[in-house]
C-alpha cells in the first residue's frame, strides 16, 4: 500500500477517535468498568453471569490451602446466609452489594468488610480457633438493617470438607 494512502487512513482513524472522546460523559462508565477489570461488577446483573452467580457463592478451596469466600450483601440479607471456613488458614473474602452500601462485620472481632454496589471488596481474614461468629450489617441500609445478620462458622482445618474443583462449601456441606 502506498504510504500516503496509509497515512491518510491512520489520520482519519485518529480523527474519528476524537468523536467518542467528545462524548466521554456518555461512554465513561463502560470504559472505566473495562479498564478497572475484574473488580468492577454491575449490581443489577450479578445473578446472570460472572463471579457472583448462585453456584459460585460460598467457600472455595484454593490450591495453596487458603480459602476464598464469595458473598453478596443485599437488603436485608447476606447470601449465603451461613458461611463455613477452616481455622488457621487465610480466608480471602470477596464481597459485593446488589443494592445499598452494607458492611459485613463479625461481632466480637475487629473484622468489618464494606460491601459497595458495583465494586468487589477484598479482605483477608484469619481465625486461629474454631468458633461460631455472628455477622451483622454495620452500615445502615434501610428498614430491615437491624435484622440483617448471618452466621460464620469456623471449624478445625481437618473437619473442613474437601471440596472438589468447581464445588463451593457452606454450612450445608459440613
Amino acid at each position: 500500500m502506498n504510504w500516503r494512502k496509509a497515512k491518510l487512513i491512520i489520520l482519519t482513524v485518529l480523527i474519528l477517535c476524537l468523536i467518542p472522546a467528545t462524548r466521554y460523559y456518555q461512554i465513561d462508565q463502560p470504559v472505566m468498568r473495562w479498564l478497572q477489570g475484574p473488580n468492577r461488577v454491575n449490581p443489577a446483573d450479578l445473578h446472570l453471569a460472572g463471579e457472583f452467580v448462585e453456584n459460585n457463592l460460598g467457600t472455595q478451596q484454593d490450591p495453596d490451602g487458603s480459602v476464598t469466600v464469595r458473598l453478596i450483601a443485599q437488603q436485608y440479607l447476606f447470601v449465603p446466609h451461613c458461611v463455613l471456613v477452616p481455622a488457621g488458614v487465610p480466608v480471602h473474602v470477596r464481597i459485593t452489594s446488589a443494592d445499598a452500601v452494607h458492611t459485613f462485620a463479625l461481632l466480637g472481632t475487629q473484622y468489618a468488610v464494606k460491601a459497595l454496589p458495583g465494586t468487589i471488596t477484598e479482605a483477608e481474614l484469619r481465625f486461629a480457633d474454631a468458633g461460631d461468629y455472628t455477622a451483622s450489617c454495620a452500615e445502615f441500609c434501610g428498614a430491615g438493617h437491624f435484622e440483617m445478620r448471618s452466621e460464620l462458622k469456623v471449624v478445625p482445618r481437618e473437619q473442613f470438607p474437601a471440596l472438589g474443583p468447581g464445588k463451593r462449601g457452606g454450612c450445608a456441606t459440613q
Binding site: 504510504w3 500516503r4 496509509a6 497515512k7 491512520i10 473495562w34 477489570g37 475484574p38 454491575n42 443489577a44 446483573d45 450479578l46 445473578h47 446472570l48 453471569a49 460472572g50 463471579e51 452467580v53 448462585e54 453456584n55 459460585n56 453478596i72 443485599q74 437488603q75 436485608y76 440479607l77 447470601v79 449465603p80 446466609h81 446488589a98 443494592d99 434501610g142 428498614a143 430491615g144 437491624f146 435484622e147 440483617m148 445478620r149 448471618s150 452466621e151 472438589g164 474443583p165 468447581g166 464445588k167
Partner: protein, 286 residues
C-alpha cells in the same frame, strides 16, 4: 545479506542516493519518522487486543466446573424498569378478559391458590410473567399463557392490574371479597411482619413487601390469598420455586418454621398488610 549489516541511517542514505528526488515525495511533511509510524500504530493495536484478551481470560478463569444456575433472566436495569412500567392500561383491560377466569374480573381471585393481582406492583407481575416465559418458574397453566403473550401485551396487562384498586371506594360499586381482619392477627405473624427476628437473621416482611419499605421486583402483599402465600413460602423453602434474584426468599422461607409460614399466610390473607387507617369497607367481623 550485506544489506542487513547496514545501519538505518546508512540505508536511508542509500535510498536517497538512488533516488535524487527523495525530498519531493513529501514523506516527512509531518516532521516525524514517518516510516516507523505504521509499526508503532500496529504495536499499539496489538497491545490493546492483548489487554482485552487478558482481561476476558482473567474474568473467565474465576470459576470452573458446573454450569451457572441463573434464577431469572430479568436484571433490573433502567431499560428493563422502563419496559416493565411503560404499558398501556386500557389495552391491558381488553387483554385481561383472558385472565379473569382465574384472577377475577376485578383482580381478586375466587380460588385461594391463585394470586390476587389487583393493585400489585407493575415490576412484580412483569418479572413473574418473564420467568414463566423463560421457564424459570414452573406452572402448567401460566407457562403456556406467558409464552403466548408478546412483550407489549405483558407490559399492558401489568399496567392494567397495577391500576386496579385494592380498597373499596364509596363512589364505586365494585364487589370486593370480604376480609376478616381479625382472622389473621396472630402475634407470631405480626412480630415477623413488623420487626422480623434479628437473632435468626430474618428481616421484617414489610421492609420489602410494604407498606414500610419497597424493593424492586418484590410484590406488595396487601391483599393476597392465604393459600397462595403459603404455597409459595413452602415452594421457596424446599427450592421448587427458585426464581428470586440473589435468593432472598429461598433463604428466608427456609429459616421460617412451618408454624410461622402458616401464620404469615393467614396474616396476609386477611388483608392486614396495607390496611390504611379508617378503611371503612373492611371492618372486622365481630
Amino acid at each position: 545479506m550485506s544489506s542487513s549489516l547496514l545501519s538505518a541511517q546508512e540505508k536511508e542514505a542509500a535510498v536517497r542516493r538512488n533516488n535524487p528526488e527523495w525530498h519531493l515525495r513529501g514523506d516527512n511533511r509531518l516532521g516525524f519518522r514517518s516510516r516507523r509510524l505504521p509499526g508503532l500504530a500496529a504495536g499499539i493495536l496489538v497491545a490493546i487486543l492483548l489487554a482485552a484478551v487478558a482481561s476476558t481470560t482473567l474474568l473467565g478463569s474465576v470459576r470452573a466446573g458446573s454450569p451457572d444456575h441463573v434464577p431469572s433472566n430479568v436484571a433490573w436495569t433502567a431499560a428493563t424498569v422502563a419496559e416493565a412500567s411503560g404499558g398501556n392500561a386500557f389495552r391491558g383491560l381488553l387483554l385481561a378478559r383472558r385472565c379473569e377466569h382465574c384472577h377475577g374480573s376485578e383482580g381478586f381471585s375466587p380460588v385461594g391458590s391463585t394470586p390476587n393481582l389487583a393493585g400489585m406492583d407493575k415490576l412484580a407481575i412483569w418479572k413473574q410473567l418473564e420467568d414463566f416465559r423463560d421457564g424459570k418458574r414452573s406452572s402448567p397453566v401460566m407457562v403456556p399463557i406467558a409464552q403466548s403473550l408478546s412483550p407489549r401485551d405483558v407490559a399492558d396487562l401489568v399496567a392494567y392490574y397495577a391500576a386496579l384498586p385494592i380498597y373499596p371506594d364509596p363512589q364505586d360499586n365494585r364487589v370486593f371479597p370480604e376480609q376478616n381482619a381479625q382472622a389473621g392477627h396472630s402475634p407470631i405473624a405480626f412480630r415477623l411482619v413488623a420487626f422480623g427476628e434479628g437473632s435468626r437473621g430474618i428481616p421484617p416482611c414489610q421492609a420489602c413487601h410494604g407498606p414500610v419499605g419497597y424493593k424492586v421486583g418484590a410484590p406488595s402483599l396487601a391483599t393476597q390469598n392465604a393459600d397462595y402465600v403459603l404455597n409459595q413460602l413452602d415452594a421457596f423453602a424446599d427450592g421448587s420455586r427458585a426464581n428470586d434474584i440473589n435468593q432472598p426468599m429461598r433463604t428466608i422461607a427456609a429459616l421460617l418454621s412451618e408454624n410461622e409460614r402458616e401464620a404469615l399466610a393467614a396474616y396476609y390473607g386477611a388483608g392486614l398488610g396495607l390496611q390504611p387507617v379508617g378503611a371503612s369497607g373492611i371492618a372486622p367481623k365481630q
